[in-house]
Symmetry: C2
Subunit: 243 residues, 2 copies
Amino acid sequence: MEPVYTDLVEGRINFNDFKNKIKDCKAVIINSPSNPTGRVESMETLKQIEKLTSDLGTYVLSDEVYKDLIYVRENYLIKGPHVITINSFSKTYALCGLRVGYLWSLDQELVNKIIEMKTATSMNTSILSQAMAYETTKTPRSFINKQVKIWKQRRDLIYEGLSSMNLDLWKPEGAFYVLPKIKNSKDFVWNMFKKYKVITYPGEWFGANDRARFSYALDINKIEEGLKRVRKYLEREGSSHLG
Amino acid sequence: MEPVYTDLVEGRINFNDFKNKIKDCKAVIINSPSNPTGRVESMETLKQIEKLTSDLGTYVLSDEVYKDLIYVRENYLIKGPHVITINSFSKTYALCGLRVGYLWSLDQELVNKIIEMKTATSMNTSILSQAMAYETTKTPRSFINKQVKIWKQRRDLIYEGLSSMNLDLWKPEGAFYVLPKIKNSKDFVWNMFKKYKVITYPGEWFGANDRARFSYALDINKIEEGLKRVRKYLEREGSSHLG
């Protein structure tokens, strides 16, 4: 299979480009809220994608792992017999180390094939992980709402911190990443890691060569410390990274 | 890929048949001690296989998950740059629910490809499972020896129990399965499950239509209870299953 990429506008899907690129595609992956952009796609775009893919008979892999981590805007979850919905216990319940996710679809035949493939590649999933994931299903919605408030504080902190260093970025609407413009982003990532012990990811890994991804899946004090180090680096030796 | 099967003689590899069948094979899987036969291959056969596959440049997947559960005979672990050794924490340390295994090979390029495939299919492994598996590496050999004695008691119990019902089987040398001859084994498996709540596997799943697999990975009292039920079934209605 050969991947085809749709061009984003400020981290969001441009439906016209999407429509042009989808022609020979068997399936599309939609990830809203998105890693690494932190964007939530507009309701209108998501509904247009739902209709177009349904008309064309193109499968949609709807990766909704960040669906509970939204700070602004409404979300829309794509539905239909051509949709495979993917979710995880990693984000909402911070169980990423336990490696439990799931998918569902109205297409039972497809689900059976996926079960067969899963069984033949990694067989079943740790029973401890499954038991812990099951416990999360008893979590009241109020817990998630409380967590979202914490995520929003972290988002505001990192957004304001990086903005004040004159980095060009948009404010995340969901998920827990910021994706500022960084010139020579591979050097930036390498230096931040080697000299300042801060881990970021090169935008290149996500098809955005002129950016770097910062995660804010950390406690406030860790984010503050990280921001201090980024500021120090940019002040001392990082002028080549600013646009 | 198309699987090719070598014919076993009383659950053991016949080297002449193996030699004839290997010609167009890219890789062979050796599982000694074996699920479902409970056999340990002879040292001579294993050394012959090691040499032949080395000469032909055929990969050996040496599945050694039962290597610590041997009651009689010596074992030999196939070595060489063409060998991929597979092991698990499931059997020796009874951690099967945690789903942690590993493989190693002298062929670093192949290992890199396997890591890439693993990453793209099931990514990494539960950190809880990994931590628990790591703890087992501190287990003294004396613990394993003690466990093997318990396994041997279970083996003797099930072997003697099934033999006394006039079932035709060999005494397992390793692993924790017996594979008696059972006529109409699919009916047997189904009836034992539905009417007597005893789970066995049809030999058909392992290429042995005239047999059924019993596991003795259970405490002694459970095995005793299982044997009682098998006896009851065979006495009441199971005459069609005896050879």
